[in-house]
């Protein structure tokens, strides 16, 4: 036995005699993970979260979460002797007088943007491939929780420096609280410790930003990953991959090296952005005061869609019985986002209800093979894109010399027309792609080789595709619609007939498919003439 083997054996023995972990560790070090680039999206989110914890901790060492009035006396000349909050002054201190402080601020902000972008990309991947289906509904719900908390956490984070831009965002948040019927002004006064802006919201949101929400993130992410581990990762369909197996690489050493290495790559990219790309230069905005504002005030991108919704809202308020209800704030600020996020959370259950499918699924869908779901996803994305673009309507107007009123009206109309249109178009594209798959399997791939037949006709030679490819393109399930049954065998009308009818109609739409090619068809074609 070599020296090295003795040491490893000794450590293993020590751990196992105290925990009995040998069996469990042995099993899990050999755990198989399927490989696909799209499985990295969630990893990016995880790694940027770790970067956020590290860079955020660094920032807390100097940041002073206080709205105490101070006179700035640091090395940034343009703001010398200006009165400001301690929060803003300490952010200037971090940016100009702590070595690497600006870098860390920028890494923290870039990592936050990357975190949100990766979460959204991961969410879309999970949605479009149907990875949320049984048994993974709980993990979908946790994911929806994480994206919601991420939006709040990001907003609170960029509000902490107490600069003119972020203060404007806080003012808008206060107006949303204030608009809540009956209790709104009380909630706003309690949250801000009195009239806006007060002197307590920076310390309060600081606690939420560095303690409460990161704690919630850690808990949710841990459960999220444990479930992925326990339920084993999904995999894309292909030769040799079934609902009963996982094909991939073992955790040790391949995934340890790849995942650990990928963390380094994500950190490197974020650090590079933090080094060269300026982000949130708060010293240019000045300290917050409610009487001032800068033109082109923009939130970060994950808030932009909300801002765009608020911007396009029609000017409706109700004044009755001595009370005011601001529909122009409630609808875009609370009701529509509430409906969107609730719908997103419930989607796995809605789909399972419509399809009647209660089985486990570990093989992912190719988006084209589930046209309705894919179309719904694209429809939601289109909605978000329209309102996001409207969230930047002032910048679009100034950069492209367009009329802001026209952009606003285009989005107001577009937000109703474009999503359903994109649903129809996406569904058609999916069905066409299914037809293309069918053609490819039955007629082979185009070789680009032209042949002249004896009678002068030119034809392109097609080459049959491999058995692996044929299997990948034809192995997907083709669900049947649930027929509408309005009465049972004895002719007694079923209760909830309307619900059943609706379900059957949606299920019919859901089941619309072009039939996958079969071996029988391929043989028939081979036997006959092309």
């Amino acid at each position: 036995m070599s020296q090295k083997e003795r040491i490893i054996g000794g450590v293993a023995n020590y751990v196992d005699e105290r925990t009995g972990a040998a069996k469990w560790l042995n099993k899990n070090l050999k755990k198989v993970f399927p490989d696909h680039w799209s499985f990295m999206l969630g990893e990016v989110a995880l790694y940027s979260f770790i970067i956020l914890l590290l860079s955020g901790t660094f920032l807390t060492f100097w940041f002073d979460p206080s709205q105490r009035d101070v006179i700035y006396n640091g090395s940034y000349m343009p703001l010398q002797h200006v009165q400001m909050s301690a929060a803003y002054a300490s952010t200037l201190h971090i940016s100009f007088d702590v070595r690497g402080g600006l870098l860390m601020r920028q890494i923290h902000h870039w990592a936050a943007l990357l975190f949100m972008a990766a979460i959204i990309a991961h969410l879309l991947r999970v949605f479009f491939t149907g990875a949320f289906r049984k048994p993974r509904e709980a993990n979908w719900l946790i994911g929806v929780g994480l994206v919601t908390l991420g939006i709040v956490e990001g907003f609170l984070g960029y509000s902490l420096p107490d600069d003119l831009l972020s203060g404007t965002g806080i003012r808008i948040a206060e107006a949303i609280l204030q608009a809540i019927p009956v209790v709104g002004s009380y909630i706003a006064f309690f949250a801000f410790g009195g009239a806006f802006p007060g002197h307590v919201f920076i310390p309060r949101i600081y606690t939420v930003h560095v303690l409460l929400l990161p704690g919630a993130f850690l808990a949710l992410i841990t459960i999220h990953l444990m479930l992925v581990w326990y339920q084993k990762h999904t995999q894309y369909p292909g030769p040799g991959r079934t609902e009963k197996n996982v094909v991939g690489y073992p955790l040790m050493p391949v995934y340890m090296a790849k995942a650990g290495g990928f963390f380094g790559i994500v950190f490197g990219v974020t650090a590079f952005l933090g080094a060269v790309a300026s982000i949130n230069p708060i010293w240019l905005y000045g300290p917050y005061t409610p009487g001032q504002i800068s033109a082109g005030s923009q939130p970060d991108f994950y808030m932009g869609w909300l801002d765009g919704l608020v911007r396009m809202s029609p000017p409706i308020e109700t004044h009755a019985f001595g009370h005011t209800i601001s529909w122009n704030i409630l609808i875009p600020g609370l009701i529509v986002p509430g409906i969107l996020f609730t719908g997103m959370a419930l989607y796995p259950f809605i789909e399972s209800y419509i399809s009647g499918d209660k089985r486990e699924h570990h093989l992912l869908d190719r988006p084209r093979n589930v046209p309705n779901r894919t179309a719904l996803g694209v429809m939601s994305l289109t909605f978000i894109m329209v309102v996001l673009i409207n969230g930047g309507n002032d910048l679009i107007a100034t950069h492209f010399h367009m009329s802001i009123n026209q952009i606003m009206w285009m989005s107001r109309i577009g937000v109703f027309i474009l999503p359903p249109l994109s649903f129809v178009i996406t569904k058609r594209i999916c069905l066409s792609l299914q037809r293309a798959d069918r053609d490819l399997v039955l007629h082979g791939r185009e070789t680009g080789r032209l042949v002249m037949l004896p009678h002068g006709e030119f034809v392109e030679v097609h080459e049959p595709i491999s058995a692996e490819k044929a299997w990948t393109l034809t192995s997907h399930e083709q669900p049947k619609a649930i027929p509408h049954v309005s009465e049972d065998a004895n002719g007694v009308a079923k209760p909830k007939s309307l619900v059943n009818k609706l379900r059957s109609r949606m299920s019919t739409a859901n089941a619309e498919q072009r039939p996958a090619a079969t071996a029988t068809e391929a043989k028939e074609l081979e036997g006959g003439h092309h």
Binding site: V32, R99, L102, P135, R171, A175, Q178, A179, P181, V182, G184, S185, F189, F190, A191, F196, G198, G240, N245, V247, G248, Y249, P253, V254, A257, K258, G261, F262, G264, I265, F267, G268, V269, A271, F272, V276, A277, T289, P290, G291, A295, G296, S297, I316, H319, H323, T324, N328, I329, H362, D394, M408, V441, E468, W471, T474, S475, A517, T518, K523
Partner: protein
């Protein structure tokens, strides 16, 4: 042909594994090993760069980088060093995994999560038996009192949040403006005479401070007023609102009636005020009527006049609350 006789394509099984060059060619493996080592060394160089620039680079050197503009050299090289150190460390590990670690795909079995039927029955039996032994189902008095106590206990943390802030009382409805309050410049706190404003000019003003009073952000958030001077003939106001102006000078709350942003953009040509937050647009000549955007109410107008010394003063307080709407707001 019936449905049953349709033959589907068959799963050909996992494709044959294709070996990498490094798997059988010792020379290729050596090359890969060297590549990994180079990546790791690049990472080490990055760390040296990072620590070196942290210690030795002066903090006030600014260098110009195309596209990115002026950059602080110390921050830039520190960041580039850290980026190199982590990026190449990661690249090295990934390259190592991809070229030299085993790349044969492994197949693991998956099992349905549903337990064996007997285990499920046992579980239900256990829950019934063990849970039943507590008698919660039978002892309704315990059940109800437990529900009551549990529900009430959850109230305490909510009640204890009460001292987060004071009640709003009339604070959302009132401002510092009173009859006779002088309009003063912001910044500068100088009283204003009509002659200080040319036609077409716009100024931000605040109420003059009383003795011993200090300017707070809470007050600015309600008191900020925009003063605009037009040609009196350009007004399109009813007689009451016209009497609130003075010689073409009209005053509006600067706090947006939509969500409270500062309505700071004034377009001289069209005489429109625009809020940069959500683009609500107000027509100054028609008492800040909303002509575009999500705001539902005009900006409240402040009645102004001259005092005995010829300075602009408020004729009366605002006649309606300024800023965004709230439930208790009782005026249209």
């Amino acid at each position: 042909m019936t449905n049953n006789s349709i033959e589907k394509f068959q799963d050909p099984g996992l494709p044959e594994h294709i070996h990498r060059k490094a798997d059988h060619d010792e020379k290729a493996a050596k090359t890969a090993e060297r590549q990994v080592a180079i990546l790791f060394l690049l990472s080490a160089v990055g760390t040296v760069l990072a620590i070196g620039s942290y210690i030795f680079m002066p903090q006030d050197v600014v260098i110009f980088i195309p596209i990115m503009g002026d950059q602080n050299a110390a921050q830039l090289f520190l960041g580039l060093g850290i980026a190199m150190a982590t990026f190449f460390l990661g690249m090295g590990a990934v390259h190592w995994a991809k070229t030299l670690m085993p790349d044969t795909e492994v197949v693991a079995e998956r099992h349905e999560f549903r337990s064996e039927e007997s285990d499920r029955e046992d579980f239900v039996a256990t829950v019934k038996e063990q849970g039943g032994s507590a008698g919660l189902g039978r002892r309704t008095l315990i059940k109800r009192s437990l529900g009551l106590a549990g529900g009430l206990a959850a109230l305490t943390p909510i009640v204890m949040l009460r001292d987060l802030g004071p009640q709003p009382k009339k604070q959302l409805e009132t401002t510092s403006w009173e009859a006779g309050t002088r309009l003063v410049t912001d910044p500068g706190d100088r009283p204003i005479k009509p002659s200080d404003l040319e036609v077409g000019a716009v100024a931000q003003v605040l109420p003059a401070l009383k003795d011993g009073e200090e300017r707070t952000l809470e007050n600015i958030g309600k008191d900020a007023v925009l003063l605009i001077r037009l040609n009196p003939s350009e007004f399109n106001l009813d007689s009451e609102r016209l009497s609130w102006t003075h010689d073409g000078i009209i005053a509006f709350s600067k706090i947006c009636s939509h969500m409270g942003c500062a309505v700071a953009l004034y377009e001289q040509q069209t005489k429109h005020l625009l809020c940069p937050c959500h683009q609500s647009t107000f027509d100054v000549t028609r008492a800040a009527k909303v002509i575009f955007g999500p705001a539902a109410r005009p900006l409240p107008q402040l009645a102004i006049t001259l005092d005995s010394e010829g300075y602009l003063v408020a004729k009366q307080p605002f006649t309606e609350p300024v800023g965004p709407s709230f439930w208790e707001r009782n005026t249209k």
